[in-house]
Symmetry: C2
Subunit: 137 residues, 2 copies
């Protein structure tokens, strides 16, 4: 498996843990050696494994939460660090996410996650889609 | 200068270019060798130098835009790659940003930027601030 594919696989593991409300798998995919950072949509940044895992424990404990699905993941690998950009679909709403991974003992571990509101992702046959709204500044 | 400080300096260069509407400086801080990605708030991801720079050219051309200021930048350096998490203030509104840099010929160059809505950043003496709203899923 190429490092590109391995990074996308790690990204899939993250979303599988998220979708399955599998806290043990969520703990496992995050780095326990690095200072991890997590930015949930609309939140401020959480820094450190304990704080980040506390947030996931609370999120994954919500059994009535809607399903999450990951779309159009693309990886950018730079040696021992890689990041993945993908879209998260929750019902009919979309978020766009940046997920950063670091290779630790041969395995890609998540060190950072940010998700924020997005327009629906462009489909592959939709190159001429409407232009997004201008940045407010 | 430590690599930590050098990364924060590169982050400052980015926000200085942004605040000054300095397109040449904005072009200069982004990597022209890597596949760059930029996620403006509410937009989908822009991929590639040409598309990303076109977005900045348009944003920086808006002379009536409010000022932007960067707060509480924190860097996480992993060898040749680093990321910075910081808050962007535009008038009374806050965004939280992830900025990824790669070392190219001894200089830190931006390869990724994502900004999304945030609560106001916690102040240093505000450890007991209200808990952020729960993630909607």
């Amino acid at each position: 498996m190429s490092e590109y594919d391995a990074t996308l696989f790690a990204n899939e593991v993250f979303y599988r843990a998220f979708a399955d409300r599998d806290f043990a798998a969520m703990e496992e995919i995050w780095s326990s050696g690095a200072t991890v950072v997590c930015i949930h949509p609309g939140w401020t940044a959480l820094v450190g494994y304990t704080e980040v895992m506390a947030s996931w424990r609370r999120i994954l404990a919500n059994r009535n939460a809607p399903a999450i699905a990951c779309h159009q993941a693309e990886a950018f690998v730079y040696g021992e660090v890689a990041f993945v950009v993908c879209y998260e679909q929750i019902d009919d709403n979309f978020l766009v996410a940046t997920n950063i991974f670091r290779r630790e003992n041969g395995r890609w571990k998540m060190v950072h996650h940010q998700a924020g509101p997005s327009a629906p992702p462009p489909s592959d046959d939709d190159e001429d889609s409407d232009e997004p709204a201008p940045r407010p500044n």
